[in-house]
């Protein structure tokens, strides 16, 4: 199997060269993450740990910060369009923030090579999930608990406002707890897992689940970032180019209009790249290089 040789080992780079490389890499990570909906974190962590030989804790810290920036920046636009279900987001944030806190604490005790292996596994799952065909589902019947929690809502479509109901709240909540743990442990938004919880388990229309998931990612990442911050895992020199690069990349991505056929093609390319990166993470984790 092929594997990357970390280049830092050969010749120590100056801070300025390192920053420029990271800025460019993060820009493309943000761009790809935005175009495919997987988020920038999934490329940033392999870039930092495999190519630039950065300690995985620093990588997770920097990635978390970039995840917060992207989520806040794009949620700002979505929330005003009225597609985001604020109440559902807030309710499920109980699960994601609690999970994120546990994930961040777990990350301190789990040996780094296990984190690398888990990262690879989650990466493959996310890539496969993003390849699924999405069809809009609207549940008409109203769940009692959803009614009590005022979670049923309507969202704007081309044919006007459409009402939708929400099913299996307990199952969705549990899945969100898991998504939170993964986010806190690996420093990714785990948007793919959040969308699964909402699409597949809670049967929410796809447009609503995507924007609501994005809305929740920021606060979830913040809940674990406060732990990483105090533990000294968030390094300013490293996080600076990552957060700026990913945010600019994501902004570019949101400006590019992708038609459905090329978006499908792009997803496949990204899935292949991501699977390769995941393989590297798992390989390096097993051989103890990370």
């Amino acid at each position: 199997m092929l594997y990357f040789r970390p280049i830092v080992v050969i010749a120590p780079m100056s801070v300025i060269v390192f920053t420029v490389i990271l800025l460019i890499g993060s820009y493309f990570a943000g761009l790809l993450g935005s175009l495919t909906g997987l988020g920038g974190g999934v490329v940033i962590i392999p870039l930092l740990t495999l190519l630039l030989n950065v300690d995985i804790h620093y990588a997770v810290g920097a990635s978390l910060v970039s995840v917060i920036a992207t989520s806040s920046g794009s949620a700002a636009a979505y929330v005003r369009e009225g597609i985001t279900n604020m109440r559902l987001g807030m309710f499920l944030e109980i699960a994601t923030t609690a999970g994120a806190m546990c994930g961040a604490v777990l990350a301190i005790y789990i040996p780094t090579h296990y984190i690398a292996i888990l990262f690879g596994v989650i990466l493959i799952c996310s890539a496969l999930l993003s390849l699924r065909n999405k069809k809009e589902i609207i549940v008409a019947q109203k769940n009692k608990l959803a009614k009590k929690l005022r979670l049923n809502d309507s969202y704007p479509t081309q044919t006007g406002m459409v009402d939708y109901g929400i099913s299996n709240i307990g199952g969705g909540f549990f899945m969100m707890l898991f998504a939170g743990i993964i986010s806190g442990l690996l420093g990714i938004g785990s948007g793919a897992l959040k969308v699964v919880a909402m699409d597949t388990i809670m049967r929410i229309p796809f447009k609503v689940s995507t924007t609501t998931s994005n809305f929740m990612i920021g606060v979830t990442a913040s809940a674990s970032a406060v732990v990483y911050l105090q533990r000294g895992y968030i390094n300013p020199g490293l996080s600076m180019p990552v957060v700026i690069g990913v945010l600019l990349g994501a902004l570019t991505g949101s400006k590019i209009l992708v038609n459905t056929s090329s978006s499908r093609w792009l997803r496949w390319v990204f899935a292949v790249v991501v699977t390769f990166l995941a393989g590297q993470m798992i390989y390096n984790g097993i051989t103890g290089k990370i």
Binding site: M13, S14, Y58, A76, A77, T97, V226, G232, I234
Partner: protein, 126 residues
């Protein structure tokens, strides 16, 4: 009436999120320029985890760093503001729900804030 209030809240949250992101990224960028100017030619080494220096790790050190225009301290301030942005969004949501008299969601928002507070206070101890 309630519907109008919800859209008001959405607009407000949109503004909070945008302003928080723009302000913190600007600070990170300014800090980055200073950092590059001062430390651009030192070797980069993030291979082994060493934590962050006390000068940016503790509130007082961070304050002194900002006052003496240290790049890393300014970047870290921007990052802390960035982390605070979604939390600020939750606080504004709580206020918004209170204005809508939706007390169930005031409670839910406060619970989310409580979890983040426990995470922030407990992060050091665990």
């Amino acid at each position: 009436m309630k519907k109008i209030k919800d859209t008001d809240l959405q607009l407000l949250l949109g503004h909070v999120l945008r302003a928080g992101t723009v302000v913190s990224i600007t600070i990170v960028f300014l800090g980055g320029v200073i950092y590059m100017h001062r430390h651009g030619h030192t070797p980069a080494d993030y291979k082994t985890f060493r934590g962050t220096p006390a000068s940016i790790h503790e509130a007082y050190g961070l304050f002194l760093g900002i006052m003496s225009l240290r790049g890393q301290a300014i970047i870290q301030t921007g990052i802390i503001l960035l982390i605070a942005t979604p939390v600020l969004r939750v606080i504004f949501s709580a206020v918004g729900f209170a204005l809508e008299k939706d007390y169930l969601y005031v409670g839910i928002s406060l619970l989310v804030l409580l979890i983040i507070a426990i995470s922030a206070l407990g992060g050091h101890a665990v």
